[in-house]
């Protein structure tokens, strides 16, 4: 260090640069600047246009489950009347064909569609709602299926924000503002809709630098529903346990918390649908029993449930808690979250009867005597005593999960109390119906 008190770059204090230029000189420089800006914009816009119209873009669209889903929905001959929104739990657990059958049995000729997407939290559901509303006429009923992981602050941002670049369009911007979205996300959507290549940036970088070539088109299933095959009970139990372990990070306090961001998107989604005249309901999804262990008091589950209920109550939207419902058991699952095809069919019928039909104002077919038709059963949170008699009692959270013995024959259902519930579908009840109800014969030992 020296003692000279000189300005850091030798200039005198207060020196202000003031070029002595004629008006023509200044005009010339301004034109040069405009030329520079125009050349830059033309080059960038040209490259973007080339990408937009390229075969590469088409291939990348077909490879992306998110983008292809939007494209396929837009090409439907007839927009559906009932739409299911949610993540992969919805994608694999709500069968539109079964829904249409159940609706037909109630005397309604309505179509259904599954707009579930893997990893799609309320942020994605907002734009999917916009997609559903983009067809005329809009759906009559939309069900939003939610899970506690969707609102966890520990959720993988890459996955949870996938929709920003794959689905969001300029029409979603006002709703993002309504959802209280971060300014950066709003501007991200705006900019990546102006320069489309930005939306594909991550994929293009992986293509060029990691040589991840485009894969085959994403599977779309039937009416958006992807059926999974049945798996042996031991496999299901093992998968469910591993999945439960994986979810601990996202659900366990104090590291995890319920984030406001996704609740804001949920609220905006409900509002968007309601303002379009759509009947909406929110459903808390069901899980295999192994996952119930991680929903205990040390998790964010109770707060998640309470806050989602509060959002629904504020919007006057019915909320249904299907975590422990009378129709599903571990046998219906392929892992902790996703049902097999048969389980999906049965659960879908349950959803139609208990959620869709009430929204449409149509009463479900009369139940077997002795059961009060009091609407969908509410199991409440783990700190609330469940309502007696009609509410099935599943495994107690925090207790050892009910894991079928791999050596046992086809799994016995969960120890629900006898339930008189006419499902009307093939295969009969999943529950331990009163033995006298089942085919009139005495139960086998």
């Amino acid at each position: 260090m020296t003692d000279e008190r000189t300005n850091s770059d030798g200039r005198r204090a207060g020196d202000v640069a003031s070029p002595n230029l004629s008006a023509d000189g200044r005009r010339g420089r301004l034109l040069d600047l405009i030329g520079t800006v125009l050349v830059c914009l033309v080059v960038l816009a040209g490259l973007d246009l080339a990408f937009r119209t390229s075969a590469l873009r088409a291939v990348l669209d077909r490879e992306s489950h998110y983008r292809l889903r939007a494209l396929e929905y837009a090409k439907l001959d007839r927009p559906p009347d009932v739409v299911f929104l949610g993540d992969s739990r919805t994608l694999h657990s709500l069968d539109p064909v079964a829904a249409e059958q159940a609706l037909a049995e109630a005397g309604l000729s309505l179509s259904a569609y599954n707009l579930g997407l893997s990893g799609a939290p309320p942020m994605a559901q907002l734009t999917l709602a916009g997609l559903a509303l983009s067809r005329e006429p809009p759906p009559r009923v939309v069900l939003l299926f939610v899970s506690p992981y969707m609102v966890s602050t520990r959720i993988d941002p890459t996955l949870s924000r996938e929709s920003l670049h794959t689905l969001y369009g300029l029409r979603d911007l006002p709703w993002m503002v309504a959802a209280g979205a971060r300014v950066e996300d709003i501007l991200d959507v705006l900019t990546s809709n102006l320069f489309r290549a930005l939306a594909y940036r991550g994929r293009l970088v992986r293509l060029v630098f990691d040589r991840q070539w485009p894969g085959p088109p994403a599977a779309m299933g039937v009416k958006g529903f992807l059926a999974l095959g049945r798996v042996p009970p031991g496999v299901q139990a093992d998968r469910a346990r591993r999945r439960a372990n994986g979810y601990r990070t996202e659900l366990s306090r104090p590291a995890a918390a319920v984030g406001d961001e996704m609740l804001g998107y949920l609220d905006a989604t409900l509002r968007r649908l309601q303002e379009a005249g759509v009947a909406v309901a929110v459903v808390n999804t069901t899980s295999a029993s192994a996952l119930l262990e991680i929903y205990g008091p040390d998790s964010i589950y109770d707060e998640y449930l309470a806050r989602v209920r509060a959002v629904c109550a504020a919007r006057g939207v019915p909320f249904h808690d299907h975590l422990r419902n009378p129709v599903t058991s571990d046998a219906d699952f392929t892992d902790g979250d996703h049902m097999n095809g048969e389980g999906a069919r049965n659960y879908t019928r349950f959803v139609v009867r208990n959620v869709v039909l009430p929204l449409l104002g149509a009463a479900p077919r009369a139940r077997a005597s002795g059961t009060a038709a009091a609407g969908p059963p509410s199991v409440g949170s783990f700190r609330v005593e469940p309502a007696p008699s009609v509410v099935p009692r599943g495994p107690t959270p925090g207790a050892r999960p009910v894991t079928p013995d791999p050596a046992a024959p086809h799994p016995s259902p969960l120890p629900f109390p006898p339930e008189r519930f006419d499902r009307g579908g093939p295969g009969g009840s999943r529950l331990a119906r009163s033995p006298a109800d089942a085919s009139g014969t005495k139960p086998q030992a």
């Binding site: 260090m1 020296t2 003692d3 008190r5 300005n7 850091s8 770059d9 200039r11 204090a13 207060g14 020196d15 202000v16 640069a17 003031s18 070029p19 200044r26 420089r29 301004l30 034109l31 040069d32 600047l33 030329g35 520079t36 800006v37 125009l38 050349v39 830059c40 033309v42 080059v43 960038l44 490259l47 209280g180 979205a181 971060r182 300014v183 950066e184 501007l187 991200d188 705006l190 900019t191 290549a197 930005l198 940036r201 970088v205 060029v208 918390a257 406001d260 609740l263 804001g264 609220d267 707060e303 309470a306 806050r307 209920r309 509060a310 959002v311 504020a314």
Partner: protein, 508 residues
Amino acid sequence: MSWSRYLPEADGCVKRGVVVRRSAVLVGSPSGRVFGSGMAFVSYSYVYFLLGAVLLRWSAPRRAVPAVLLAAGTFFLWTFGSLGLALLLGAATIAFGTGLGMARRPNLRRPLVVGAVVLLVGNLGLFKYADFLVRELRALGALAGLPGLLPLPGLAPPVAISFFTFQLVAYVVDVSRGAWPAERDFVRFLAYATFFPNVVSGPIVRPAELLPQLARPASFDAERFSTSVFLFLGGAFKKVVLADSLAPAVGRVFDGAGPLTAPAAWIGALAFAAQLYCDFSGYTDMARGAAGMLGFELPPNFRLPYLSTSIAEFWRRWHISLSFWLRDYVYIPLGGSRRGRFRTYLNLLGTMALAGLWHGAAWTMVVWGLLHGALLALHRAFRDLVARRAGLARVRASRPWNVGGAVLTLLCVSLAWVFFRAPSLRAAGRVLRAMFTGPLAVDGLAEFRPALVALAVVAAGHAVVVGDAPMRAYRALSPALRGLLWAALILALFWFAAPPAAFYYAMF
């Protein structure tokens, strides 16, 4: 939108309608919800904000420019949190009032300036060092069998506090010395204090460098605007493409716990030296570019520091605004080099220890500062010794001497950076041990390839760039070629931007 309505009343989380969380008040604040932890320089938010500020600045009448900049700066700081904004405005008001007070009552200069400096530095000390101090006292207390006597204040330093404190201290001291007249326009002064291109991470701007420009805002100069855009994009390139490419390798070396080979340790240390340079000089270029687009000139903060042939020259080329601030407001008031050799060495040690502490409340930073102080003292002693030998004058001017000096300086600086980057003294020791005693195995170095490429680019840049060469080359280009260069830089950002690491100096 009131988020509190989503909380069940029995939850206990709602207190007078405000969401209270232990993590940070910011989460419940409006700015936190919409801007997260503030407007990063490399973000859509900042780019659109800058465009808006530029449009407003050039469409506003000249006399309204300070007000426009104040509004922009206030909004910019608000995105980082209301507390930081309130602290800065409060500190600026104290500095402004002190300046006016000294102008009106010259006989009260000394108590006024001392009071203002105590308040400003005390504010910095409270928010930045209180936790550190209490933690260390608690640790001492635990050793003495008295744990947990003092509660942790839990104060997190608001953004920009280190920079705006030094900037405002410079103002009140300059006014007290008569080096600069007290500013009488409050709006103009606040615009100076909240000038958004430099408020978060410097350069630390003296009143003489910015207040005259605010008093007489320049008219639009298309050539300056064009070079400023180039400077901005070039800075973003340094940060996003080079610095962020180096970050993973640095993290692997410094934040890991496993054994390190000597090559990996050296690559990590050199990569950090390059990362910090690209990150900070990149940020500074973006700050100067943004200021230039607004018609203001900020002083340069870096002049190819790794070409320095001595540690003293390094501090004339690295973070220039800070080193000159330390010289003018700490080193010289302590006596500088006027009180004998021993006192000079002490002054150097003390000044650089303070520099270390300014960078962070951690012992690693203090060690880093002391190392530089020791190096400066050693250099001074060596320089004095060599100066007395006339026969060495030609040797000292020779190329091998300068090259040797540059290599030695780079080596010393890189070793000192290990303390700057390491999360603890133990971690620094681990890296240093590996550098000098680690196995020489070269397998496993493939994962450092991106970092080596970035290092090569930085080294090549230092080798070929002389003085202001890039800017001179840019000015020689035709408008079309400039447009292509802008597009190329933007495309480079598109292709090479990794998930962005935060600006390193933003944490100071």
